[in-house]
Symmetry: C2
Subunit: 230 residues, 2 copies
DNA sequence: GTCTATAGCATGATAGAC
DNA sequence: GTCTATCATGCTATAGAC
């Protein structure tokens, strides 16, 4: 029985505080605020305001003054949380990759190899992006314009996500559940389909397609290919 | 016999001058240069330099000084071709949409309904993006951050491209060449697969996957779905 | 038609009061 | 810990020489 999005969300049980206290721990060296409760609250405002603005006008077009107006901070206050504007990118990137990778691996490892595992991975990825679409879209849009070392890290993280799909495909082929195809290429195509869900969110909303329907269609498409005639 | 990319490129026979004189005609009201030969040459330099820079560092991160250095113009000289920086976006957008729509329709209309027509459309779209990947990726990245009226135009153009695939799917279903599926949703998924080719170009190059191989895989994936069991 | 010089402004970042 | 005031810089866009 396929798990649907509402059950997924309830099962994740990641509160806002959990998320931002993890984010604080990863970046505490840059942050001058000492009281954790204050820092967590401030981080949450700043990150969420950044994602909103970057989503609507783009990260580079967003000024720190825009960010202040949106987050409620003053121009000086922001600099207690970040070293500079570029630092905002890392703040947001690091955290999301960690969460995505971990959840994807955890949620697929118990499923049986083959169709079941592939479905679990597709659903989990789509559900994650449904939970934080602004982060996924930010990460996709900004990664290509990072300075080379940071960019390399982002490429590596994206590759790891793709590898999860690759491994599932290979395992399924080895187990005889799938026919033999180019697993690397099909993993790329699968990821492309995952991306469209968060990159074209408003289009799908306008067409009244929800995440469960989308997940089902992607699974059907992949499965008919993997189980077709050799 | 599937047409491959080299034959497609030769068959298009669109010279650089053809392209930029069409672009000049569409935007002659903004452009202060009187001699067509000069204007065409200037436009070509500016558009190509913009696409290069926007592709590497992003349009908003690119300053007009960067553009001058890259295009060989002076800061004042640029303003004989454009009204302001935002005008550069329209200059580039208009032209590409026109070319893409026209080529896609022309190249698919003679093919037989069903698999053959679908393949022609997939190949044509991929080949077009292979010819001007910087334009496709620019258009994808910038469209979401345009001011509302211009954004609407871009959304509309993207929708028309998707409709071409939609029509082909519906026609094929009506003719009995395909089984009955949600054609609107499958057209969206198809477009998502088209997009990945130009958005993740360097990844595919690293994997030594060329455009013909990619086109073949996308067609196989779609066809197995459209011809699978009802 | 293209250049140089510069106006006018918005931005990222800092210093220091509270 | 957060604010206001301010600096230096780099930007878009224009004016006017050639």
């Amino acid at each position: 029985m396929p798990e649907d999005f509402e059950r997924f969300k309830a099962g994740l049980s990641l509160s806002r505080d959990d998320i931002y206290s993890a984010l604080l721990q990863e970046n505490h060296h840059h942050i001058r605020i000492k009281k954790p409760a204050v820092a967590i609250q401030g981080l949450a405002s700043i990150v969420e305001a950044t994602l909103r603005l970057a989503g609507s006008k783009g990260f580079h077009a967003m000024s720190l003054r825009d960010l202040c107006a949106e987050s409620g901070f003053s121009i000086g206050g922001i600099y207690a949380y970040i070293k500079n504007k570029e630092d905002l990118i890392h703040l947001i990137q690091d955290y999301g990759f960690l969460l995505t990778r971990r959840t994807l691996r955890t949620r697929t490892q118990d499923a049986a190899p083959g169709v079941e595992k592939l479905r679990a991975a597709v659903r989990t990825h789509l559900f994650l992006s449904e939970m934080m679409p602004d982060w996924f879209s930010f990460s996709f849009m900004e990664a290509r314009h990072l300075p080379p070392p940071e960019r390399q890290k982002a490429v590596q993280a994206a590759r790891e996500i793709e590898d999860i799909f690759f491994d599932i495909l290979q395992e399924g082929m080895a187990a005889g559940a799938f026919r033999h195809v180019d697993a690397r290429l099909l993993a790329s195509l699968t990821k492309a389909l995952m991306q469209d869900w968060y990159l074209k969110r408003s289009k799908y909303r306008r067409q009244e397609i929800d995440v469960n329907t989308y997940a089902q269609s992607v699974c059907d498409l992949l499965e008919s290919y993997l189980q077709g005639p050799p």
